[in-house]
């Protein structure tokens, strides 16, 4: 487990370093390539860590909050990297790597590799459920960043101030599309993820749903993204309103994933 911890820590250092380089890139437009390479190195170290954990424990690293968080970091980093590779847009890497570093730090501080897995969680259905949820959250996180950028840039353009964001960020339309795409993909995964969760609950607890704090927050979350998706698909909402919904939705994700899980009493393990 020592190696896993070392790798866990090593990936955090690399994420922090890539954050510094993305920051430098954002301000000066220099060394963008280095930033990307460091991020890639961080993701590689992180992947090795996750694979090693899985090999040693013979379960996916999803069984406790800290491990799910680090898996989320890995997924989010990967999504961003794919986005950067495909769209050649690395201006908001600084925000992504900031989130990666924060969540990874929380994960390292709270992780306990040796804690045994609760019995009810020891089935494939549970792993599929968590995987889908994390996938959805990583997608929402990317959408959140895009939406946040959209709102900042929008304010700058409309307020007729041509500042740093104006000179650095891609176009509004690009950010809008990225947000919508990420949120719609995330919504699909969230829906499936909740579905698997309910099946799990049916087996473990004997009932599919309970208005427990965690489950309630997740439900609200789903409704927000659903509203966003429907309003876009049916009413062609986009831009400012969609972005605000996406930001709200992701704040709820953070609330449910970090706050409710750790501080409210809930029957849901994490």
């Amino acid at each position: 487990m020592a190696i896993v911890l070392a790798l866990h820590f090593g990936s955090l250092v690399l994420y922090l370093l890539s954050f510094l380089y993305y920051w430098r890139f954002f301000v000066t437009k220099h060394s963008g390539r280095t930033a990307t390479l460091i991020l890639l190195a961080g993701l590689t170290v992180h992947s090795v860590m996750l694979v090693l954990y899985t090999a040693q424990r013979n379960i996916l690293p999803l069984g406790q909050f800290a491990l799910a968080a680090t898996s989320f970091v890995w997924l989010f980093g990967l999504f961003y990297f794919i986005q950067e590779f495909l769209l050649r847009e690395q201006e908001f890497g600084v925000f992504v790597t900031a989130i990666l570093s924060i969540v990874q730090t929380i994960s390292i501080l709270t992780v306990d590799y040796s804690r045994p897995l609760a019995d009810i969680l020891q089935n494939v259905m549970f792993e599929v459920h968590v995987a889908f949820m994390l996938f959805a959250y990583a997608s929402f996180a990317l959408g959140f960043i895009a939406a946040l950028m959209y709102v900042i840039l929008f304010k700058e353009i409309q307020g007729h101030r041509f500042g740093l964001f104006y000179s650095r960020l891609p176009s509004l339309e690009f950010l809008d599309k990225l947000n919508l795409r990420s949120v719609l993909i995330g919504l699909a995964f969230l829906t499936i993820g909740i579905g698997f969760g309910m099946l799990n609950a049916g087996e473990a607890w004997g009932f599919f749903w309970e208005w427990d704090p965690k489950l309630t927050v997740v439900f609200i979350n789903w409704v927000i993204y659903l509203v966003l998706g429907i309003s876009h698909l049916l009413l062609n909402w986009r831009g400012q309103r969609t972005s605000l919904l996406s930001i709200l939705g992701f704040l709820m994700v953070v609330f449910s994933f970090f706050i409710v899980t750790n501080f409210a009493s809930t029957i849901h393990t994490f």
Binding site: K29, H160, Y166, S167, S171, L172, N236, Q240
Partner: protein, 641 residues
């Protein structure tokens, strides 16, 4: 050497060719050696280089007499700095944009083609180009939009991801209307509408910019489809109330982003399109403010480059005050004939064109050929010299075209041939006039087909060389006499560089003497620094049948013989003095003073040249001002005028 920059109002640039002509006559009048004109943003700048500072005053007087306003006038360092700044577009709103530099290059080229420029201005331009490369690589220069049209493009780019199917409507009647149309037609947008109160005028403009003209009454409709609306100045035309209604209704349904660039401050536009979440309206003041900010930002970047410019100015003056400026790839030449040769070399080097160099023995034909090679793209390839006059014909053929093993007695192994071996480089054929007709036929074939057939082989092989030929004969005469084939002559005489004999460019003698002093001092480890006045005069008066090679030999000998640190009369061979002919044959009997001789000689030359002072001054190896002074002294100027 004095440099002056004079700024004239931009009206002068309306007829640019005429301005260049006038510049030419100014140069004649005021004995300016070099000039060029650059059209620039709000003015036109002329740059002058001449020996004396009073020549520059002459130019200013010339312009004032002709009622040309002079906006400003700078000298020396200031003038050079101004040249760099204008060449790079520093004071224009478009600094750093490649188009500015391209325009300056174009204008300079025109001055060059009109024969106004010389070594000094050409070097100035070359260094400005180098600076431009440094500047051009700085992306930050292009990071900010500097003009209204570029700002509209930048804003559109920040709002829309791409404009390739955007609909643009431009309305207005005056500046910067054309800039907007030109800018947006270059962006290849989906559709570009243009509305002008007079439909015919709109149609006219649209032809040039690939836009669709629309009538006044269609404006509302066009605006409703548009993603970008650009209101240029002079759009004081009012929209009809019904159109305003259309705009209002679209404004409500519109879901896509829309940019309204209200440069002309059309009141209805800003009234109707209040700030909604998808429509961005900009009025004139806001846009101007943005442009001012952008200019400030650019200025900050530019300030970082000031030291580099100043450094370049100093480097330029270092070059100007050294004899470097009379050198070109190891060739020394101050005379305008040689400067023209240098210019020609630079121009022919750009292409692979065949060049014929004609010049007496010892005029440096091989050096010129080498200079062409070194200036050209092929400079990393081999440079092969072959003296056609020195090798028997059969050997020459084998040497050039190659041969198979056993092609002739003694051909014990196969040979590739120089034309083949020098692939990617240059072959210099010296004394081409000494070849036989048979050889000329084969050479012509090789040049024509760009392939050679080695002796004893039947398979032609492609060659990739540039040919430079040289001769000391008058090939035209050889052709008439039938000793040189006319077809080959026309094939190699595409560009001819004629090297003038040394006696026709006496002002090159002193720089050459200095050059050889340096060369042989280093070679022989001597420290001969000066040449005595008498010795120099003798060398100036000598006929130089053997041209520079002869001068070099005499200098080598003189340096070797010199005992103190100077070259005296005694160090020169006797022949130099014997050959010096009396200045005028008629007056050998009577003894005259030096002044009389001088007066008569100048008079004679002036008559020969029909009053061309530059020519006379060059022949005498003195500056034009000196000539002028002497003419005054001997009362020759009244006669001339």
């Amino acid at each position: 050497m004095q440099l002056t920059a004079i700024r004239l109002p931009s009206e002068q640039s309306v007829d640019f060719p005429r301005l260049l002509d006038r510049l030419n006559s100014v140069m004649q009048e005021c004995s300016i050696e070099e000039a060029c004109a650059l059209r620039y943003w709000e003015w036109i700048s002329i740059y002058l280089a001449g020996e004396q500072s009073d020549d520059m005053d002459c130019v200013q007087t010339y312009l004032r007499v002709r009622n040309v306003d002079i906006l400003s006038s700078q000298k020396d360092r200031q003038a050079v700095r101004q040249f760099y700044k204008e060449y790079l577009g520093e004071e224009s709103p478009f600094i750093g944009e490649p188009s500015v530099q391209a325009k300056a290059q174009g204008d300079f080229r025109r001055s060059m083609q009109n024969g106004l420029t010389g070594a000094v201005l050409r070097h100035l331009k070359k260094t400005a180009d180098q600076l431009g490369e440094t500047f051009g690589s700085v992306e930050e220069f292009r990071a900010h939009a500097m003009s209204p049209e570029a700002l509209s493009g930048e804003l559109a780019g920040k709002i829309m991801e791409d404009v390739s199917d955007a609909v643009i409507t431009v309305i207005g009647t005056s500046d910067p209307l054309e800039h907007f149309l030109e800018y947006w037609s270059r962006q290849h947008v989906g559709r570009l509408y243009f509305c002008h109160p007079e439909f015919e005028a709109a149609e006219q403009q649209c032809l040039a910019f690939d836009a669709l003209p629309i009538r006044q009454e269609e404006v509302g409709e066009a605006l409703s489809q548009s993603d970008i609306i650009i209101v240029a100045s002079g759009a004081e035309q009012r929209l009809a109330p019904s159109q305003t209604a259309i705009l209002e209704s679209i404004q409500k349904q519109r879901k896509k982003h829309q940019l309204i660039y209200n440069w002309g401050n059309l009141p209805e536009i800003s009234a109707v399109f209040s700030r909604s979440s998808s429509i961005f309206v900009y009025n004139r003041e806001e846009l101007e403010e943005a442009l001012v900010q952008a200019r400030k930002k650019r200025q900050r970047i530019l300030d970082r480059f000031q030291p580099r410019i100043n450094e370049q100015v100093e480097e330029f003056f270092d070059w100007l005050y050294s004899d470097q400026r009379y050198r070109f790839h190891g060739i020394v030449g101050k005379s305008h004939q040689m400067q023209q040769v240098f210019e020609l070399v630079e121009r022919v080097a750009e292409t692979d064109i065949t060049v014929l160099i004609q010049g007496e023995t010892g005029t440096g034909k091989e050096l010129v050929a080498r200079a062409i090679h070194e200036t050209s793209q092929r400079k990393d390839g081999p440079f092969v010299t072959i003296n056609c006059g020195a090798i028997p014909e059969t050997l020459l053929e084998g040497e050039l075209f190659g041969h198979e093993k056993g092609a002739f007695t003694g051909a014990t192994s196969a040979r590739k041939g120089l034309l083949k071996e020098a692939a990617g480089g240059t072959v210099f054929l010296d004394e081409i006039g000494d070849t036989t007709q048979m050889f000329q036929v084969k050479l012509l074939r090789a040049l024509q087909e760009r392939e050679v057939t080695p002796l004893g082989s039947s398979i032609p092989e492609a060659i990739d060389v540039r040919i430079i030929a040289a001769t000391s004969k008058q090939l035209q005469e050889e052709v008439e006499r039938g000793t040189f084939r006319s077809d080959l002559y026309y094939r190699i005489n595409v560009v001819r560089i004629a090297l003038p004999p040394l006696r026709e460019r006496k002002e090159d003698i002193l720089p050459l003497i200095n050059h050889f002093l340096q060369k042989y001092n280093t070679k022989m480890g001597k420290q001969v620094e000066v040449i005595s006045k008498e010795a120099a005069e003798a060398l100036m008066a000598y006929e130089w049948k053997g041209n520079i090679r002869e001068l070099e030999n005499i200098m080598e000998r003189a340096i070797a013989l010199s005992v103190d640190h100077r070259i005296n009369r005694d160090d020169l061979p006797v022949s130099v003095f014997q050959q010096t002919e009396p200045i005028s044959q008629e007056s050998t009997q009577e003894v005259r003073t030096l002044e009389e001789v001088e007066r008569q000689y100048i008079h004679q030359l002036l008559q020969q040249s029909e009053g061309n002072y530059s020519e006379v001054a060059e022949k005498l190896g003195i500056g034009r001002t000196t000539l002028w002074r002497k003419m005054k002294k001997y009362g020759l100027e009244q006669e001339e005028n």
